[in-house]
Each structure stands twice: as structure tokens, then as C-alpha cells.
């Protein structure tokens, strides 16, 4: 299978052949025989490989996409993949690729979507993605990336960021609000720290945010979150957030899903929240709310395990008079900055 003996439609497809054969050699297990037909010079007929006319020269076919979602392939990404300079999308959800993302991915100047989700990638946040000029969709969820999330990620012109179910730590960078994403999912990491006040700057673009189970502390940035007028999903459940629920949530007019359950919120649920016009689900169970329970609106709600008098399924009076149930003054609480948290 000498590349020099094969005939190719054009030089780009010849390079693609070299890249794909290197990748095939870096595959240890392919239970569905996905790459069985990865032989010969017609790379455009390979399973999971998608060709299209080049945007710069429509007379030339090039490899524009790799889509191996759900192939269950075990292996790694060899540096030769950087020869696929025409790639617009790289989708490998639910495989068993391990190791890291090669630096040669920097040559993929047209890469628009990078989906590495549900694999076995490890190590620091793959900094190479920060150098991809066309990237809009970044999905790294369900891997074992660790350490800090670089603040530069939020200075990039991305549309979607999925980082959930990794091992990221050391807080959410303070420049979060610079990001123009429509969706951000950060759930199930061990970030710690507070929700940066800069989140208020995302009002023009942000539609959905999930910060569930991230070991977050402090109070919700009250005046800032009121600016999130386009937000439909706001989920901060399973953290250690404190203080009362700010009445400014009532200004998030597009909100459909609101989940603040499993935190340490206190006080009364503001009536402005109950009146949100598009609300479909409101979950506030497992906190220390003492009242303001909205009379059932058009939405479903779960407010069990609080301290609301006269409502069924509440915490015991011992729990409700404990230290954890005591209101705190959010003006007096200082959020640890993410830089000095790394040692704790």
C-alpha cells in the first residue's frame, strides 16, 4: 500500500490518505469494523469520511468532515491528522480515543466543530483549540481533562462550550462574561469558587447555562444575573451556594427551566420569580427557604426539603434551626478569587 504507487484525484486527497492510514495504524480496537474499508486511494468513500468541494476551489474535492460518532473505536489521535487541513468538522463522540489532542490540529484553519465528547482524553485543557480561528463548537465533555480552564477560552468567539463531566478545578475564570456563547455546560467538575459577576455581560447571547455539581460557593451575583434576558435554562443545582434568591431573577424574562436545588439558599422566594412568564419548571428543593412558596402557576415545581411552614415534605425543625439555615449577608461575604484557591 505504498502511497507513491497510488493515483489520487488531487494532492489534498493524497495528504488525507496519509493522515487516515496513520490514524488507522493508531487504532487498537474497532468492534464495528468501521475502518475496515479504509483502504485504497478513494478516501472519500471511507466510512465516516466526508468530502465536499473546497470552499477556495470548488472544482477540487477535499476531506471536509470526519464523523465517527458512536463507533466505539479505541486508539489515539496521531499528529498526521494535521494533514487534514480542509476539515470543517471532527465528530468522534462515544469512542475510546485516549491521550491528548495533537498540536498539529492548529493547521485546521477551517475547523468549525470539534466534538471529542465521551472519550478517554486526559491531561491539561487542550490549549491547541484556542488557536483554531474558525472554531465555534467545542465539546470536551465526558473525558478526563484536568487542571484549570484557561481564561482565553472565554475571549474566543465561540457559540457552544461543553466541559461537563471532566476533572476541571480552580474556579470559573473571571472573564467568563467575555464569551459570546449561546450555551455553556460546566456541570460535574470540581471547580469551586463563585459565579463571576461578569456573567451579566452575556445577556445578548446566552440562552442556556448549567453549572450543576461544581462545588461552587458564595451568593448569586444579584444585579448581574438580571441582565440575562435571553436565558431559557439556568441550572446551579448541587452546589454550596448561599444567601437568598435575588428578586432580579424576575428580570430573566425568557427563563423556562430554573433549578436551584441542593444548595444552602435561605430566605423567602421572591414573588418576581413566581411570575416569570415562560417558566415551565422551577426546582428549589433541598435548601433552607422559609417561605414565599409560589401558588402553583402554569409550571411544575419541586420545593421539598426546605423550611417552609405549612408545606409538606419539609426539613425537620432541628435542621431548620441549625447553623446552615441561618441567613447570611451577601454584601459581607467575599468570594475567594480563583487564583488563591488552588492551594486549598
Amino acid at each position: 500500500n505504498d502511497v507513491n504507487k497510488l493515483q489520487f484525484e488531487n494532492a489534498r486527497l493524497r495528504k488525507a490518505y496519509i493522515a487516515l492510514q496513520s490514524w488507522k495504524s493508531a487504532i487498537f480496537s474497532d468492534p464495528f469494523n468501521f475502518t475496515a474499508d479504509w483502504t485504497g486511494p478513494d478516501v472519500c468513500s471511507y466510512a465516516g469520511v466526508f468530502c465536499a468541494p473546497s470552499p477556495s476551489d470548488p472544482t477540487m474535492r477535499v476531506v471536509a468532515g470526519i464523523d465517527l460518532n458512536h463507533a466505539d473505536i479505541a486508539g489515539y489521535l496521531p499528529p498526521e491528522l494535521g494533514l487534514l487541513t480542509d476539515l470543517a468538522l471532527f465528530h468522534i463522540n462515544s469512542n475510546r480515543f485516549c491521550g491528548s489532542v495533537p498540536l498539529t490540529f492548529l493547521r485546521m484553519k477551517l475547523l468549525h466543530e470539534l466534538d471529542l465528547s465521551n472519550n478517554r482524553f486526559v491531561g491539561k485543557f487542550p490549549g491547541v483549540v484556542l488557536g483554531l480561528p474558525s472554531l465555534k463548537y467545542l465539546d470536551l465533555r465526558f473525558n478526563e481533562f484536568e487542571g484549570p480552564v484557561p481564561s482565553k477560552l472565554f475571549d474566543k468567539d465561540l457559540d457552544a462550550i461543553f466541559l461537563n463531566d471532566n476533572r476541571f478545578r480552580f474556579g470559573i475564570p473571571e472573564n467568563l462574561g467575555n464569551s459570546p456563547v449561546s450555551v455553556l455546560v460546566f456541570a460535574n467538575n470540581n471547580l469551586g469558587g463563585c459565579i463571576p459577576g461578569s456573567i451579566g455581560k452575556m445577556g445578548k447571547t446566552l440562552n442556556e447555562i448549567i453549572l450543576m455539581n461544581d462545588n461552587l460557593t458564595g451568593c448569586l451575583p444579584a444585579s448581574e444575573i438580571g441582565h440575562l434576558k435571553k436565558l431559557t435554562v439556568f441550572d446551579v443545582s448541587f452546589n454550596n451556594l448561599q444567601g437568598s434568591l435575588p428578586s432580579t431573577i424576575g428580570r430573566m424574562k425568557s427563563l423556562e427551566q430554573l433549578d436551584v436545588a441542593h444548595n444552602r439558599f435561605t430566605g423567602v422566594i421572591p414573588s418576581t420569580v413566581c411570575k416569570l412568564p415562560s417558566l415551565k419548571n422551577f426546582t428549589y428543593s433541598f435548601n433552607y427557604f422559609i417561605g414565599g412558596d409560589c401558588a402553583a402557576g402554569a409550571y411544575t415545581s419541586d420545593g421539598g426539603n426546605n423550611c417552609i411552614a405549612g408545606k409538606v415534605g419539609q426539613r425537620s425543625s432541628r435542621e431548620c434551626s441549625s447553623e446552615a439555615a441561618r441567613p447570611i449577608d451577601c454584601k459581607k461575604t467575599k468570594c475567594e478569587s480563583s487564583s488563591n484557591k488552588s492551594g486549598s
Partner: protein, 63 residues
């Protein structure tokens, strides 16, 4: 509600953020197609995109 209308109502209740909490989920089940062009018929073209905000396009295009 007609069946088409109720289907659309159901589709609107999906959120790409909550879908992301399930490891196997992807926004578009049509192999080779951009996640931003999932409702496109015919051959997949990775360079073709129908929408700019995944929260808008994904809500109407999945499956």
C-alpha cells in the same frame, strides 16, 4: 393541537444543555452533517450550515 403542532411543542421542550449531560447524546444523528445543518436533506456537506446559534437550531432539528 394537531399532531404536527404537538410534535413541535415537544421538540421545543428539549434543551441542548440538558442533552449534554448524557454522554452518548449528539445534536445531530445524521452522520457527516454539521450540527448547525441537521435538518438539511440530501448528501451531508460539512461546509454547509443553516444556523448560527446551536441553541436555536438544535431545538428544531434533532432526530
Amino acid at each position: 393541537l394537531g399532531s404536527e403542532a404537538s410534535r413541535r411543542v415537544l421538540a421545543q421542550q428539549r434543551y441542548i444543555s440538558y442533552d449534554a449531560l448524557r454522554a452518548n447524546n449528539v445534536p445531530c444523528s445524521k452522520r457527516g452533517q454539521s450540527y448547525y445543518n441537521c435538518n438539511h436533506r440530501g448528501r451531508a456537506n460539512p461546509y454547509q450550515r443553516g444556523c448560527s446559534y446551536i441553541t436555536h437550531c438544535a431545538r428544531y432539528t434533532r432526530r
